[in-house]
Symmetry: C2
């Protein structure tokens, strides 16, 4: 996959900031141009949220963060970039002007995406010299967690542009979805707008409050739509009789007086005030910052849950996360060929996320073993036991574990693990992991493991091949010079 090597973001509000975070966290340098006096503060806040979210989202090794540069001119920002993303305010004249200016100073092979949520790409590209490289790349807030990008071409957009744009989104963990025909508001905002109009009527007519309406969504079809959409859900509802039968049954409803959509609600001061007041009540004292954090933590949890879907293959946005992590691991495997022989290997870096703690804010017991298991996995990848090796029918299995709890990892705490190889022979691999507070270095827990090299199809231990053993032995020999860790060889309840 050909990824983006350098990005420029023109406009750095909440949406532009989300794009910037996506690029930087994927290791891509970003130039930003935004004359707004608050631009660097807003981008900084979005980036801080994104970094917190990513730390919880994945234990896979993110590449070194890209370099962020605020530029004084559009021309300076665009120089050298091969993906330029425009996220200025939603006015056709303004956007058209900015895009035309970008076009005149951009690299000849650069792609130009617009974050517009409703304007037609044909209108946006009208004055460009190279309109074939302009497309709509419409993301959703928060851009650093929601993967969707609607890709829409105008009359003059080339097919090659669309194809390249789709390909370049995958390495930054996003999902490009190509919309076949351009229409105002594309697909997502059309659907949102329809539901929004009906929602405004329901509040206007006092059928329910905004809290009740939100509860109706999040306790029912919201849960369905996080993992399947509208049609796939109804396909199941149709049962064995099938989708066509379901539609034939549903058809008559369209003629029923079930919506007020044929009329447009007047969003006057009274309705704005009513919604504002009900929304204040619903928030129950939670600030925007707190709601934002809760939302992000929930999205992280949902994405991780979907990563385990479809029998562990990953489903929907979770499959995308799984693929993203695998590419990160593969990249890290290529990079990480040397290590400091005077120290244990430093292998997993993460932060304690909200799904990992009990109501006291302490990390739950089994999450310690999750980090230690991830540490073993990282060691195995380092010595050549990667996905291809495992799929070919051999692996290392953990057969015995001894954990000591020395401190407490807490919500939001930065933690990392280290690994010391104690011994290795043809079949056995004896390791000692330590979980540290990243700030103080304090040891929070240790885990001693015995792993066996197995033929996973036969279900029995078998000698590891030389190609693996050579790598693990080179590390073990270096580690032989390290002191034996405190706590090795203990049994449960042994006096210190």
């Amino acid at each position: 996959m050909t990824g983006i090597t350098k990005a420029a973001c023109i406009g750095g509000g909440v949406i532009g900031g989300g794009w910037i975070a996506r690029f930087l966290l994927a290791g891509i340098d970003v130039n930003v141009f935004d004359p707004h006096p608050e631009a660097s503060r807003i981008v900084g806040e979005v980036l801080a949220n994104a970094e917190k979210a990513y730390a919880m989202l994945t234990g896979a090794p993110l590449p070194p963060r890209g370099r962020l540069t605020f530029c004084k001119t559009l021309e300076e920002a665009v120089a050298g970039a091969d993906w330029i993303q425009e996220s200025v305010p939603e006015r056709l004249d303004l956007k058209r002007g900015v895009l035309t200016e970008i076009d005149t100073v951009a690299r000849p092979d650069a792609l130009i995406g617009s974050s517009t949520s409703g304007l037609l790409p044909t209108d946006l590209q009208r004055d460009m010299k190279h309109p074939e490289r302009l497309f709509v790349a419409h993301p959703y807030n928060p851009v650093y967690l929601l993967p969707l990008v609607e890709i829409v071409g105008g009359e003059k957009t080339s097919a090659a542009t669309i194809q390249t744009a789709m390909e370049r989104l995958a390495p930054i963990g996003m999902k490009g979805v190509h919309i076949a025909k351009e229409i105002e508001a594309f697909v997502g905002d059309r659907l949102l707008e329809a539901l929004w109009r009906e929602a405004l009527w329901l509040i206007h007519d006092d059928i329910c409050t905004v809290e009740t309406l939100d509860d109706v969504i999040r306790y029912s079809f919201g849960l369905r739509w996080a993992q399947m959409g509208l049609f796939q859900t109804y396909r199941i509802a149709g049962g064995e009789a099938g989708m066509r039968h379901f539609l034939a049954q549903f058809g008559p409803c369209l003629a029923w007086p079930w919506t007020k959509l044929t009329d447009v609600v007047d969003l006057d001061d009274a309705l704005i005030e009513k919604i504002g007041r009900q929304s204040d009540e619903q928030a129950a004292g939670l600030s925007i910052r707190e709601l934002e954090r809760i939302r992000d933590e929930n999205l992280v949890g949902i994405l991780q849950a979907l990563k385990g879907g479809h029998d562990g293959e990953g489903w929907g946005a979770g499959k995308l996360l799984k693929d993203f992590e695998q590419s990160l691991w593969a990249e890290a495997g290529r990079a990480n060929t040397s290590f400091d022989p005077l120290k244990p290997l430093r292998l997993v870096e993460t932060k304690v996320g909200p799904a990992w703690v009990d109501y006291n804010g302490h990390m739950t017991e089994h999450r310690y073993l999750q980090v230690f298991g991830d540490t073993s996995d990282a060691l195995l990848r380092l010595i050549g036991v990667d996905l291809a090796y495992v799929e070919a029918g051999r692996s290392y299995y953990t057969v015995e574990t001894h954990i000591r709890h020395l401190g407490e990892a807490k919500l939001g705490q930065a933690i990392h693990s280290t690994c010391q190889i104690l011994s290795v022979d043809e079949k056995r691999l004896h390791v000692f992991h330590t979980l540290h507070d990243t700030v103080t270095g304090e040891a929070l827990a240790t885990a001693e493991h015995m792993l066996l090299h197995v033929d996973s199809k036969a279900g029995k231990a078998t000698p590891a091949p030389a190609v693996i053993l050579d790598k693990v032995k080179s590390i073990a020999e270096a580690h032989a010079n390290l002191a034996a860790p405190e706590g090795v060889g203990r049994h449960v309840g042994q006096k210190r």
Copy 2:
């Protein structure tokens, strides 16, 4: 909370079956009347799905399943029930007739709910002698996993009926949401209908395929709506400027040509065939049964993820799950006062869910410790270390763990854990857990733990009070007669 003691379900299709499963799995006996020849097969299938889903959803102790009785007459089914749920086909004359008949034979204090997705309760209750007890209780498919029930009263429905209905839903893990005014289709289906109409236009006009449309939903706002609804999400989008500012900005869009909702699409044979064909392609060979299983597993994962939201307090549907589990544990604590002194305690029963396995279908390493941790928690509740005790500032913490892997737990496998107390003194509690295959009894793994009684505020060990020690000692004395388990006191790598 006054729960339902006996339920009757009139109509046993997919929706009726979902209600039946909710009741039975909450320990409530259910009488069913449905003259459809396939009723018992359909109910059986829904119930099997529900049982699979619940086994993955929670490790909390479900009560003994209620008794399911198919009755020959409506009168026989309704006899003795204090909640009667009508789920017959969506025709006013049919529903009104059935509800009027229920009313004449039901217990005087019975509540009568209708599953109608669109009809007005005032129309349904017209001919009833006791119309004050009739209300709409509109659930969402799959009823056994989605918690929402829209509660809507008609002109003659009493306030007491609405209040009692809401209260009785919580103990079966559902969320009653009261809709203030009755309108056709209530709130959820109004919103769905609005979005559905727009979706049909998008397919009709070839803007996108059903798969693209579903992807747009599930990679973007579907993820948002699983945890916050429409208004709370927009409140955050409005940022510090607030909801009123957001609305004022959004207002003008309502006048833009952003939907085709002012016209009604003709769902003719051509459009039905187009959607049917695109839906077949989207399913990519997955059968309805497979899609249903994937959906349920995803919903389980999302609900569990939300259970960890809001700093471990639980958020939305996850908070509801957490509350439901706590009531199950409390109930089990009251019930479980005796044990067989000749055996280890049998404490946790569960099934290996899809989020717990690697791509090989084997249970992930740290999930073993999760079950062992749940086993320790169950033991602690049994000896009086419950939520109130922990909130008062004392608890037992695990300080040391030794795990042996003897076999492999696989996707869908029924497993349970047992616990043998090895020793106890004022501060220390030494236990040995075993994880078993429930069918064969085979030991899959063992865990030896040392726990310390702590003052959690001071962060140090402190003697347990007599009220706790007396309980744990009575079990420990019985267990002293059991043989020491094989594998006690081992260190990692010790020869057998």
